[in-house]
């Protein structure tokens, strides 16, 4: 059994596959822009991700492995990414 969670809820060591990029509400210009930026940085549906590091305060920001590159982002941005966790 596998879980689908928001990337913002992931913990260090969690791995999975991105199943959805961008929040469903597309009324805000900010959300539309964020979705495009995430896509440009390699956060695409199907990409393999692993949470590598968490910041000291509030475990924020987070450093991710996205396919074969490393990307840092805040949990706030990670909220618009859904990942399906790999079966442990």
């Amino acid at each position: 059994m596998t879980d689908t969670i928001k990337l913002s809820q992931a913990r260090r060591g969690d791995r999975g596959v991105i199943v959805q990029v961008g929040a469903h509400c597309h009324h805000q210009a900010d959300a539309v822009e964020l979705e495009r930026r995430l896509l440009e940085l390699g956060f695409v549906e199907g990409a393999h991700v692993e949470l590598l590091h968490e910041g000291l305060f509030g475990r924020d920001p987070i450093a991710m492995k996205v396919d074969d590159m490393r990307v840092a982002l805040r949990r706030h941005e990670a909220e618009s990414l859904m990942i399906q966790l790999d079966a442990a």
Binding site: V21, L34, G42, R70
Partner: protein, 622 residues
């Protein structure tokens, strides 16, 4: 018959960290010009190459980007240059897309986007040696066919593949035809399908590395450790500050001595009079007062460039993001603010690394609150004069504690001000923080040295352009009109600067400043430390900067403790540096924001001095 080959224009584009600048340096060597694009403040780097065929190629190094859909001013330049929309720029004949061979996925998507622009293109697969070492197999023929562009493998740091690249570019100039640009800003759906296409090409042409880089992961587990990483960052900063202040000291003394010597020589050659005064007191000492900071700025940049090339700066931004974010600043603001401890000018310029316009503006507005090295002469003079050199709490030197307090006050107020800016000017809006954490690489000594030399050149020409006219104007103000025959006071008292000082005195009386101090503040606008020299002049002591000890004892007789503390408080905040204001004006491209900065900084300075003065007087320091 010899037909002169048509000169061609080449533009380099690529993702950040693709080694694009290293390739640019390998292509053009020292033949490069750094300027600004017309109307914007993005650095324009251009170099000329003479190809073996005799053709001249002018190469433009465009800011790194993931997409032509520009977000920062840097990326806008890249987009507009490629599309031929940039005012005063001819569109490139050939686009060279620079890719990190070990990190192709994102650049493949960018290439698909670039192809829509319809300009002839060459793909430079850079860092090809690292790809080979990792056992990464790229089917170059297939990849070239899939993308429809010629591919050249390069190792920019070893100058490998450079001639092949030039040849491939020339071939494109000759054969390839321009087609109409089909590019339009891609929406999410277009980005997704391009990413899928890039993924398909990647799978078809690239076999994953047999020996993938594991070092980056290992280094990160130390440097990004929540606690350990933070401690290491603090240690790096500590070493950096030690270096900036202690290594630079002998060099600075040397430069100071050299400038003094040049001044004396010129004074000996030129006849006494206006010309001598203008050149010695105005130009040489004015420009010299800025030149003195060159060693500190170079040491600071040595650290910054080396850490950047190593790949650490993105990690520092990661570690600091939460702390900076609490004050409404972006993690990336860390680097510009750090630079500002040496001098706000490179700090303000370094704010370019921040994508978002708002975050960049906030950073620029608070950068001058960081205690720059020009404040040090002022601080040390006043501290030496008024703060007893004694031990407090059993271990700390009181003078050192005051110095530390002044630094802390600068940092603390910068955090408060940026928080207020966020609350007042852009309520609620939080810019996303996301960035690639590049693979660690050993910095290339030659390229670090080269970039350092470039920084020095930029600093000197910019400072010269602003400082030189400013010191001439201030010299005029401080020299004319001449004192009367039977003058009893120093000459400056009778000059325009003196009159201005007297006129402004009532404004400064409530914060405990006397008219001599007000006069010193006027030339002190050229640069903060000039105030020390100016105080020396008004108190009629020759060569004040070399005799701070003497000046300090004079000040101790003339000023109350409350006045001295008020003066220190003033210097934490007051924007007493026309060079910084000039750079802010250019970097923000806005007179309004420059005035906002001048206004809030003078406002805070007055308020802080007022409070300091009156508290000190009420406690018996008057």
């Amino acid at each position: 018959m010899d037909v002169a080959l048509k000169a061609a224009r080449v533009a380099l584009v690529g993702n950040p960290n693709s080694g694009k600048t290293a390739l640019f340096n390998a292509l053009t060597g020292a033949h490069q010009k750094v300027a600004n694009y017309a109307g914007v403040t993005v650095e324009r780097k251009e170099g000329l190459i003479r190809a073996a065929s005799g053709r001249t190629l002018s190469v433009l190094d465009l800011p790194g980007t993931y997409s032509l859909r520009a977000r920062s001013p840097d990326e806008e330049v890249t987009r507009d240059a490629i599309l031929g929309r940039l005012a005063g720029e001819t569109p490139p004949d050939v686009v060279v897309c620079v890719a990190d061979a070990t990190n192709l996925r994102l650049v493949l998507r960018l290439i698909l986007e670039l192809k829509a622009v319809g300009r002839p293109m060459v793909l430079a697969l850079n860092m090809y040696d690292i790809a080979q070492r990792q056992g990464l197999r790229i089917d170059l023929e297939k990849l070239g066919a899939e993308l429809g562009v010629p591919i050249i493998t390069t190792v920019a740091t070893r100058k490998r593949g450079i001639d092949d690249l030039i040849a491939a570019v020339e071939q494109q100039v000759d054969v390839a035809a321009l087609s109409e640009s089909q590019w339009h800003s891609p929406d999410a759906a277009a980005l997704r399908s391009a990413a899928r296409e890039a993924e398909r090409i990647m799978k078809a042409c690239v076999r994953p590395p047999e020996r993938p880089d594991t070092l980056t992961g290992k280094i990160d587990s130390v440097l990004l450790h929540p606690v350990g990483g933070m401690l290491i960052l603090m240690a790096i900063l500590f070493v950096m500050f030690q270096a900036v202040f202690s290594w630079a000291a002998p060099l600075m003394d040397g430069i100071e001595g050299g400038i003094g010597w040049i001044g004396e020589m010129v004074a000996a050659i030129l006849p006494d009079g206006l010309l001598q005064s203008l050149i010695v007191d105005g130009v040489i000492s004015g420009v010299g007062s800025v030149l003195v900071f060159l060693p500190q700025i170079l040491i600071l940049f040595l650290f910054i460039i080396a850490l950047e090339d190593f790949g650490y700066m993105a990690r520092a931004a990661f570690l600091m993001d939460k702390i900076m974010g609490g004050a409404g600043l972006h993690g990336r603001a860390f680097i510009p603010l750090l630079s500002s401890f040496a001098c706000a000018i490179p700090g303000v310029m370094a704010a370019r690394v921040i994508d978002s316009k708002r975050d960049r503006l906030t950073t620029i507005l608070v950068a001058p609150l960081m205690t720059c090295s020009a404040r040090i002469p002022v601080y040390t003079l006043i501290i030496a004069a008024f703060i007893p050199n004694e031990t407090v709490w059993g271990f700390a030197n009181l003078q050192g504690v005051v110095m530390f307090g002044l630094y802390a006050a600068g940092i603390f107020s910068a955090l408060i001000v940026s928080l207020v800016i966020r609350k007042i000017f852009w309520r609620g809006a939080v810019e996303p923080f996301m960035m690639e954490l590049p693979t660690y690489k050993v910095p290339d000594l030659k390229s670090v040295g080269f970039n350092l030399w470039l920084r020095a050149k930029i600093f000197l020409t910019r400072a010269g352009r602003i400082i030189l006219p400013a010191v001439v104007i201030l010299w005029v103000l401080a020299t004319f009109p001449y004192p009367p025959e039977n003058a009893t006071l120093p000459a400056i008292d009778y000059s325009f600067a003196g009159m201005l000082g007297r006129a402004l005195e009532p404004i400064f009386a409530p914060i405990g400043f006397n008219w001599q101090m007000v006069i010193a503040l006027i030339p002190g606008m050229a640069a903060r430390e000039v105030a020390v020299a100016a105080l020396g002049t008004t108190y009629a002591i020759a060569d004040a900067e070399n005799a701070t000890g003497l000046l300090a004892s004079t000040l101790a007789q003339h000023w109350s403790l409350a006045t001295a503390l008020s003066f220190l408080a003033w210097y934490i905040f007051a924007p007493q540096c026309v060079a910084t204001l000039g750079v802010v004006r250019r970097e923000t491209n806005s007179l309004k924001w420059t005035w906002v900065m001048i206004g809030y900084m003078f406002g805070l300075a007055y308020l802080a001095s007022f409070v300091t003065y009156h508290v000190a007087v009420s406690m018996g320091g008057g």
